[in-house]
Assembly symmetry: C2
Homo-oligomer: 321 residues x 2
Amino acid sequence: MSAPPTYLALTGGVGGAKLGVGLAQILPPSQLAFLVNTGDDFTHLGLHISPDLDTLMYALAGEANVELGWGRRAESWRFIETLRALGGESWFNLGDRDLAVHVLRSERLRAGERLSRITQQLNAALGTQHAVWPMCEEAVPTIVHTVEGPLAFQHYFVRDRCAPAVTGFEFRDAAAARPLPQLLDWLADPALAGIFLCPSNPYVSIDPILAIPGVRTALRASGVPIVAVSPIVAGLAIKGPTAKMMAELEVPASALAVAQHYGDLLTGYVVDEQDQALLGPLRESGCAAIATPSVMLTLADKIHLAGVICQFADDLRSAAK
Amino acid sequence: MSAPPTYLALTGGVGGAKLGVGLAQILPPSQLAFLVNTGDDFTHLGLHISPDLDTLMYALAGEANVELGWGRRAESWRFIETLRALGGESWFNLGDRDLAVHVLRSERLRAGERLSRITQQLNAALGTQHAVWPMCEEAVPTIVHTVEGPLAFQHYFVRDRCAPAVTGFEFRDAAAARPLPQLLDWLADPALAGIFLCPSNPYVSIDPILAIPGVRTALRASGVPIVAVSPIVAGLAIKGPTAKMMAELEVPASALAVAQHYGDLLTGYVVDEQDQALLGPLRESGCAAIATPSVMLTLADKIHLAGVICQFADDLRSAAK
């Protein structure tokens, strides 16, 4: 009797967190782990802020602010309003409840605790038992190169509202970072049945994870299907600057181009039902591909997509045997 | 034509801030400066917290939380409630609005700004133009020695609610601290007409200021009357642990004992009208003394007491000429 199949999901941003919620609904903590982009992390007002870790944490805990699309639900803004009135830097909005996470994380990092451990403690405090791992313990800040010069990610993303045209990306200090041992253990486990690249921004959510030395190799060495879900639907990004970035990088803003970006890392690719026409070209390029409704508005949508990708990975594994 | 008389008020805690409000009502910024205890300052959750600076700042700005007796008015508690729920250290209550001050101060200190400059910026942002100086730029943490061992001040005061019996006080690293140049300039100015020791706790609000090397000497060298207002009225402290500390130190909890504690630093002493009987012993000991209503419940009470001490200082100065 073999152990139940396990899965790993690479994620960053809101789209990835939505699929994460679906996966967490159908897979128990023993069968699902998340590997999360921390290239967005930055120090602001003396606080270590991990936007993608928090987006996933709040989503998994049912604490996401659905109206805003970021931050924590039932939020209040007394701190940041007061900071603004005092002349403090207030371009990065920090809710009063959200702030508690940043203060606690920062304090524990200063005390010498590892980011991975703090992340697990925070998720546990909010009732989540699934493994949520930062891509590494080290700081690997994403630098967005733009026509106006290099920008720290949050300066590009929040302060400048993604306005400057992008010319490239840099994952600073990635060479000195190391994959988490628990990730390597998970990937080496014979129970592993699939790896998912969530419908996150490939350039600034997934690529930073893949830039950690050893991660890409370990993903491929696992020998299990690696299935990506396109963040582009009918030429548009559901949320965020993916399509805008692609245009600026002179890449067609299409699901096909995202698959080409991931290249031979992929075993399978999932496009939205609106992009059925891309299945032919994808398969011609040698990538197994399916189409399914992938726009996640309801919990049922998330569970549906999670079920589809698990089944797809299982099918690909059976086919390869 | 001589310049208008100027005054310096040494203060810490709520009683001192109340008299500070009265003084600021009757003296323009050019004629009044505050020298504030920072022995209570501590680092908590990575934030530099300056309780006495903030108590005075909020009082002068009309932002003090009168119901609580500390913190900022119209406060909310979403941050600390969330921090508590996450398992963070929550014994020191931090309001959402108050937190903005701590975050801003901490950030600017980390950026290398001086505490005195940050203090002035914060006060200015809240509309206060009077000079408010920390007793020094350096950290000089008050350690409360108790029968249970030494305690950092806020651990004694807030976490342990002043329960452990006090055996003494230590102003750690005071020897390495220096008076502010602007204080020394103010004291050397021929316009200086009086120095006030506000009705603050002598052991943990005023003594830390006097422990900064050169301060006591500079106060006396100014040659102007040094007038203290008793924090003890009819054997009781209006607020805080002064009377409890005196009992534990085996000192009678009386206005007289406070005057004796300050010793020959004092030129004049102000007791409450309820302590009229102490005027005889005080004068016999060589200290000029007056009695006046000193319990400050209303703004009028504060203005009255401020007026009395200014007049008393002027009278003492005239008498000495």
